[in-house]
Symmetry: none
Subunit: 223 residues, 4 copies
DNA sequence: GATGAATGAGCTTTCATTCAT
DNA sequence: CATGAATGAAAGCTCATTCAT
């Protein structure tokens, strides 16, 4: 069985002030959160590149100028959202114990965590993907975000390799392949609307499809 | 061993005229090709979204207005390039015989074809990925392009499944996962500059990493 | 004697906001009016077609972009001005009582109203005429604007016809002829600069010339 | 009864060469005529301002460059067409004898000549009207063209005035009013598509409507 | 003469960012 | 803090005119 959707999304945990680091008033906190939420909604519905600053403020019911009270530009909004996204993935991955226990159950768990993290953060996923393709700065950041997960995969593979249970001459390349699969598979089904003639997938089917690929690649060869 | 890079890239095979379907003169053919080549170079170096029409004409050593002699807008340029890209992949995939012979050799061949097609068409790969994330029209087109490859994977899986050699309850989901892996893996290593601390991969390492994942997912489980 | 020029021209009565229907601030109202006034001046001096957006903003002492805060394009400006123009003519025509009283006095009054309305709205007259010749949309609108006046003429003629006082087998055609005369006569003398060797006409001479034609066509035949 | 449509339209009578005055070869004559005819068709269907040079050459089945073999620009095309138009009107008006005979028959004849001249030259009428509103140069030319007709009206009125048969204190103003009526009435019904709810008029109805206005204004008052 | 590609000035429109109220 | 008008740099696209073939 696949673990059910864990927790909430949200623009929580970001009560820093404007550019200068000033603390915000209660009203300011509310405005900032409204803008972040509006941006999330739009990043998902219209895409990051197609979202204008004025769209965000309109969606948030604020004046255009208010945007600049809290953010220097659109990039900063995404940076903030991405930070929260990364934090959630990191936290959840840490909770997993990769070595002990039934390997397939572990892989399934891992895929479930990733799938649900992405589902909780669809706007962030969409925006990061898009931004990483238009802006070198975000390409770097996105590489950083995913590098942790890649590292865990690689370490796991290396461990099994040393134990003589599976041949993977290039653990990092394989880890990158598996990570790419997970990243883009989630993007395709959660953001882009699926493949031709199949617009969506149930959570379980999606998670199991990913898990199957990961498990067989890493463990099944050993059997 | 992995087959070596087969053939040429290029903006060949597109001698249609301007929007109206007029035939081009020899001079026109040259100019059009120069613009396509310039666009390719820029799509790769600066990205699709960051490439302006004037950049293309400058890079091609033409006047701004000349662009519109051949294309209605930037989308049309990409459409043309994408068409050539898809044609190459399709042609090469058709040449492969999926069923007979050593399965791993076949998978390796398949991955090699895909990798080299992408390597020959890095600008197209970059531009299509980017455009598909900003423009619904291109998202659809890109889905169409990749659906062939997905279909072939799924059919293969279904065949083995019926033969009782492997359990894959959702062939399309698995096919999508493998396809996503290949698409994004190629993008990451050929366009984006690899993962952190590892900017590039040799052709063979890359192809074998993909092949390992595909082969183990589809065939190895049967052994 | 002919009634003297009644009231003011102007871009009054148009405090709607930008495209979306937002209400304007006091500053916004001022800017919008400045742009409308600038457009009026230029429509008259250089003509509608020859007036560029940047001319309007320059004339108004605004930045180019400010234009689009208030209007979607030049057509919208003219539409606004035309609306005011039509409103004035309509209002004044309504005040006239066509049936009772001395017929010639009435006709004179009518022509005076039309002449002065056009004189108060020279830029609108110029622009509408020009736009109606380049843009089907404005041709339709202009037809609508003048149809009221035509209808009044026709009704009047029909009334006299029934009373057996004048033979006008095609009241609408006659009304159209009289209306055409008034429209283009006003255009020629107020906008185009008159006929050869006679650049202008006093108000009274102009009004009486029109009135003579109308009166004799409709009423004089009956005597 | 109204005289029937007299003669042919056409771009005849314009065998001058290119700008420099060189004589044209037979082939050249044909090309030039084809371009003029194409321009006429387009001036009527799309309007003068909306007709591009390339439209003309395309419509004529010629290459873009060929246009400049025969004309310096679009204005020159219109000038040529206008010349032919004016020549026809002048010729026909000369044939009329204004003084002798039944006044109403004469006026009817006059209006018929004007109506049919315009009908034979709809493209020219459309283009001249439009051009006169965008281009001071054509405004002047158009004033010249119509001044002859105005002069004849005025002379006629003055003649009757001296004879004490009608009071027209400002013959030129009245002549201008009648001329304006005829010009714009023809434009409205032959080019613009009539008034609201009445897209067209039979020749006789149109001619009689004009004649009625002219006759009553000039002669009827005397009775 | 005929052809159609090449050119670039000219105009429109968008939108991030600033700033006075 | 909130507001929304003001700004102008960037693009995109059009089209008259030139010119090499």
């Amino acid at each position: 069985m696949v673990r059910q959707d864990p927790s909430a999304p949200g623009a929580e945990g970001s009560e820093q002030g404007p550019a200068d680091g000033t603390l915000l008033t209660a009203r300011g906190v509310r405005s900032r959160a409204a803008l972040l939420e509006a941006a999330r909604r739009l990043f998902q519905s219209k895409g990051y590149a197609n979202t204008k600053i004025v769209d965000i403020t309109q969606e948030a019911g604020k004046a255009l100028g208010s945007f600049y009270t809290y953010f220097a530009n659109k990039e900063e909004v995404l940076e903030q959202l991405a930070k929260d996204f990364k934090a959630e993935i990191d936290r959840r991955l840490t909770e997993l114990d990769f070595v002990s226990g039934d390997p397939y159950a572990l892989v399934l768990e891992l895929c479930a965590v990733y799938w649900h993290s992405c589902k909780n953060h669809q706007p962030e996923l969409a925006a990061i993907f898009q931004a990483s393709m238009m802006d070198e700065q975000f390409a770097v950041r996105w590489r950083e975000i995913r590098s942790d997960a890649r590292g865990k995969f690689a370490a796991q593979i290396r461990g099994l390799d040393k134990a003589g249970r599976v041949a993977n001459p290039e653990p990092e390349a394989t880890a990158s392949a598996l990570g790419s699969m997970m990243d883009y598979f989630c993007y395709v089904w959660l953001i882009e609307g699926g493949e031709m003639n199949r617009p969506s997938l149930s959570d379980n089917v999606a998670i199991e499809a990913m898990a199957r690929v990961v498990y067989r690649t890493i463990f099944a060869a050993a059997e």
